[in-house]
Amino acid sequence: MKNLILSSLAIALLVPTLSLAQGGKKDLKNEFSTLGDNRDVVERVKNMDTHQKVRVVQNRLVDRNHRIELAGNYAFNGGGDSYVKTQNVGALLEYHINPRWSLGVQYQKSYNTLTPEGENRLEAALADQTVNKGSTMKYPAVDYPLETQLATISYYPIYGKMNLFDTGIAQFDVYVQLGYGKMNLFSGTSDVMSVGMGSGVWLTQRITTRIEGRFQQYEDLLKTDRRKQSNFQAVASIGILVW
């Protein structure tokens, strides 16, 4: 049966070739029309699995085995004391054990201003106390961070690459980060814990950049009232792999 099919098909293939040869100039384009035109086979093959897998294996463009990264960063705070707006400028030192794990230390200096709500409360109290000596309206009680030191551990489980506006390709890793340290507040010192998630983009063998979202918990003090505070930081860093 198998041979019969093969013979019939071979004859079917050869007949037009012979006739073309006899007919002089061949029309090569027409010869393509009989290639892969068996609809029955195409239909049957559609239901068959392809037992094949393809993947791409590429070297990491930036070696992060036993490398040290030094970066400067800017962070904007959300949450925390509702009367205080805090922005941070800081630096981080990260030791990359390998592309999946790194240990780091970070320092942030905080710059605080009153929020519009805080300013309104302050101005209202000030105005009221100026005209009314027996005013019970109080200035808003605030506490705010002055500086933070953190020790962190980061795990980079996801990686990828991005097209940099058709000028090149950069590889990146997405990481989760746990941190623990001390926060100096206006009222004193508090322990601080942080959980973050971000992405490090390794632009060249030397230049790095990071974007990170970080949730922090600490305690502040309003006069005698100690309270748990949570804030969220959006952090952007740019750094160099110094070694």
């Binding site: 049966m1 198998k2 099919i5 093969l6 098909l9 071979a10 293939l13 070739t17 061949k26 090569l28 384009k29 010869e31 393509f32 009989t34 290639l35 892969g36 068996n38 029955d40 086979v41 195409v42 049957r44 093959v45 559609k46 239901n47 068959m48 699995d49 392809t50 037992h51 094949q52 897998k53 393809v54 993947r55 791409v56 294996v57 590429q58 070297n59 990491r60 070696d63 085995n65 390998n98 592309p99 999946r100 990686y159 690459k161 390709i169 590889q171």
Partner: protein, 280 residues
């Protein structure tokens, strides 16, 4: 002793000369080894051709042939995955598609055979038109302008880019054509281009015939299979890579997007002909 040292020095000097040699020399050496059946050695030399070289696509194709002869179909498919990607479509010859289809048939990846037959038709038909036009019509100003660059040897596959399929493959390496262009003999250069175009058409025709044989083999294999025969796909696993130094990305069958940086970095894991009675 003296003879041994002399031999060592000779081997060393040949190695140094080869290392410093051109990609053309490397290709010639690899081809010589391939002809002699020294496939491992040939593969090693083909692997030394860098992606920036004008010989890179040929090196990958010929390495795929070597892998096929060795029965290393996964390695052959990995190379062919690179060179048959749409990025290189205007630069790749018909034999590459034929080889890729053949290897898929060998491992009974019938769906891929159908897909590759289709790709062969889609990529070769416009080329047949372009080559036929080159044979039938006098040389256009645009073509003469392009080949005139041979006076300064500034043509390569990459410089031709997407227009490469409008010319005979590697016409710029043809010494006779180069000599005619340098003499400014347009008529004779036109005749030479026509001869090269005819050779390319003949190559397409030869490979079309081979594709038809593959097609027949496919029909035979599929039609003689038990209609209800289904083979559950095995859980194919790649060998491990050094996760500290590499990144791996999956490639799905329907992925038409090509990242140029990935070309040359494919790995294939395939099950060897899972359908009973279907091997070649």
């Amino acid at each position: 002793m003296v003879k041994t040292v002399a031999n060592l020095l000779l081997t060393l000097s040949m190695s140094v000369a080869f290392a410093a040699g051109s990609d053309k020399d490397k290709m010639n050496k690899a081809r010589e080894l391939y002809e002699k059946g020294k496939l491992d050695a040939a593969v090693d030399i083909y692997s030394k051709i860098q992606p920036s070289s004008d010989f890179w696509l040929e090196a990958l194709e010929e390495r795929a042939w070597a892998h096929t002869r060795q029965g290393k179909f996964e390695d052959a498919l990995a190379d062919l995955q690179s060179i048959t990607s749409p990025v290189w479509a205007p630069q790749v010859g018909p034999e590459t598609y034929m080889l890729s289809t053949f290897v898929s048939l060998k491992i009974c990846a019938y769906k891929d055979v159908i897909k590759k037959v289709d790709i062969f038709k889609k990529r070769m038909l416009p080329r047949v038109d372009a080559l036929q036009a080159m044979i039938d019509l006098p040389m256009s100003e645009e073509t003469w302008k392009t080949i005139s660059k041979l006076k300064k040897s500034t043509i390569s596959m990459s410089s031709l880019g997407q227009t490469a399929d409008k010319f005979p493959r590697y016409f710029y390496r043809d010494s006779e054509l180069i000599s005619l262009v340098k003499k400014g003999s347009r008529e004779k250069a036109d005749a030479r281009m026509k001869a090269l175009a005819k050779a390319d058409l003949a190559e397409i025709e030869t490979n079309l015939k081979k594709m038809k044989i593959i097609d027949i083999e496919l029909i035979q294999n599929v039609l003689t299979l038990d209609k209800d025969q289904t083979v559950k796909a095995k859980d194919l696993k790649f060998s491990g890579t050094d996760k500290n130094k590499t990144m791996t990305f999956p490639v799905s069958g329907g992925d038409d997007e090509v990242w140029v940086d990935e070309v040359g970095h494919f790995q294939v894991k395939a099950e060897d002909c899972p359908y009973k009675g279907a091997s070649l």
